[in-house]
Amino acid sequence: MAVIVKKVELNWVDRTYVIPVAMGMFITMKHFLKQLFTRSRKRFTVQYPDWKREPAPGYRGLHELKRFEDGAIKCVACFMCAEACPARCITIEADEFGDLNRTQGFQEKRPAVFKIDMLRCIYCGMCEEACPKDAIWLRSDYEQASYDRLSMQFGKWDLMNTYAERDGKARITQDPTPTVPRPPLQS
Amino acid sequence: MSMSAGELSAILPLLIPALGACLLPLAALDKDQETVKWVRGAMFFMALFCLAGGFFYVTRLWATGAQPSYGALHMDRIGQYAGIFVMVAAALAVLQLWDHLHQEGWVKGETLSLLLFSVVGMILFASAGNLILLFLGLELLSVPLYALTATVRLRARAFEGGMKYFLTGAVAASCFLMGSVLLYGVTSSLDLAVIGRALGAPRPDPLALAGAALVLMGFLFKISAVPFHQWTPDVYEAAPHPISGFMSVATKGVAVLAFMRVLGAGVPAPGSLRIQSALAVVAMATLILGNLAALAQTNIKRMLAYSSISHAGYILLGLVAGTPAAYSGVLFYLLAYLAMNMGAFGILTALGLVGDRTTFDQVKGLGWKRPDLAIAVTLCMLSLAGIPPLAGFYGKYMIFKELILQGHVSMAVVGVLASLVSVYYYLRLPVALFLEKPSEKAEREAAERPAIKAPLAGAALLVCGVLVVAMGLFPGTVYKVFALRVVENAFHFVR
């Protein structure tokens, strides 16, 4: 969908810049004066910590690592997200659990470590796009700030638990034994 | 604030080329100058027209004998002589440039403009009566030349030569400036005459001597005398041929004229005696080194550059002799030098030697193809070598004779031996032109290249040849009409 940009031809009055600038200044002054005599509560500004806006549905906030109903992580440590990440902020260490193969369908791996460096992350959503298991989602949480760098390193449990409360799930701190059969891999 | 007629007439010879120099870039703004021939033609015509205007104006001044001045600008005989000299050289250079630039494929009006600026600077330099104007003239003549050296940007060596010229030239200009400041400091005046008188004092201050030495350095650089000559071959090689010719002729000539004015301003006295002996040493070194180095060259332009260094030596010898007669001899020499050196450089363009292909190998056997040009350049070369009865001989004759009369026989002997050496390398060009067969490679290349047409450069070269012969046949007239009048009218110390 190409946008056709029309080249603006300036006439000589415009090219002196003086009158257009004066007009522009007049406009800005109008805004200024209007704001000057408007009470701050009536302005458009959302006064953030006090008021918060619900992000739009497509908003890409903090990641969540999805889990199955039995609480086991959906991620299969395929490294696709890590590869896709332009900021190289995802660190994964895979963990094999072959003996549970039958209950797990064909899944053989899960992340032992899944770490996102939130100082690096640019919230582009590429990991979400890349994930074959829909295991990683970018959701609405945008308030991540901390006083040190270390606490911006989000680990596997942080990522799984961030939205737990909001979604009504339990916080977990270790991989549960899978009980529910997994859907087979699409070829 | 209006100008009197005299003041106007003093400044007009500068004004006409200056006007042309300012207007030419406007003509050059036309983007079609590469493609449309008449635009180019108009630019060149304009440059020639300005030069001709200036020339006729100055010659009229010369004929009437008026010597107007405007402030510190003295359009006296020296200035007028410089005007005639420079404008003729520039006109010849413009004619050659037309062909040369077309051969190089780099026809730009700015080149002409810079040339005209340089012309203005040169006349200013030679007619300056105080240190400020002298310095400004020096800069106004050199700054465009720095740019002109590198003007054909397609050539790889152009910028290198320009850079070298610039650095050395700027250092020399700084030295000149420092010297003039010291002179100003000691005498509290910028006027050359006052300074000259002060320097003539029986025991000049060491500071004044240092200043004089520094100023001398500046001049010697422009004359390209020996310790300050290293730039010459490189720059001449890098510059477009006509510009090299113009530089070698006009810069040197004007520097000599200005130097004569400075020397002439001071009555010869102990101070100037030291300058004379310093000059003598420099002249000797210049002669010897210039000639010997020229022997070793394989490139015509470099050979001509060293030859121009050696000619600086002859001219300096004339200044060493230091009498009015010697000065007039130098002035004659300059005229001869103008004709013969412009001709010598002209052959390069006339034969269409583009870029760096200016070695002797490139011209082998070409003489039989263009005998008229070759004969003209042979005459110029023989004249450069000082073989009678061509113009160059009389210049040397006058200088040597004054030198001998002043008792500097040994210097004359060295000069004569130097010119003997010079015969060898000057003959190399006629030898290559006539006596040698072109190498097969050169013939093949010549067959591949389109035929070279250089009518204007050829005409300029022929004019030079005719001038060389004419000055050889009527040296007395030329001497009387040009050289002698300067000395009679401009120097007040004629004895």
């Binding site: - | 800069e139 910028f159 610039f166 650095l167 700027a170 100003y184 400091g185 090689e237």
Partner: protein
């Protein structure tokens, strides 16, 4: 001994001698830069220093001659000339660099005997 001491003292206190000495030393340093450095740009700076040295001497002399205004006028012209030289010189440096990718004057050696 005494005159030398005297001279030293007057130089240190900024007599004309002192200014001229500073100017000439500056000049020598500029010359030294041009001679010893290889980068064209630094050599260029050396040239500017030399011009400046001339300026210092010039104004010192002008002051010595009872604030002679000619000196300042000359100074103005010198500044203009320095600007011109800067323009052309730097243009040459840029052009040279385009051709040869260096500003080292030792490497600009295509033109030799």
């Amino acid at each position: 001994m005494q005159p030398t001491m005297c001279a030293t003292a007057s130089i240190l206190h900024g007599s004309l001698q002192g200014y001229v000495l500073v100017a000439l030393l500056l000049f020598v340093i500029g010359l030294f830069i041009v001679l010893s450095r290889r980068s064209v740009l630094i050599q260029f700076m050396g040239v500017e220093l030399m011009l400046n040295a001339a300026n210092v001497a010039l104004l010192a002399f002008a002051r010595h001659w009872n604030g002679d205004v000619q000196g300042t006028v000359f100074y103005l012209f010198i500044i203009a000339v320095a600007a011109c030289e800067a323009a052309v010189g730097l243009a040459l440096v840029v052009g040279l660099f385009r051709h040869r990718q260096t500003t080292d004057s030792d490497r600009a050696d295509a033109l030799k005997l």
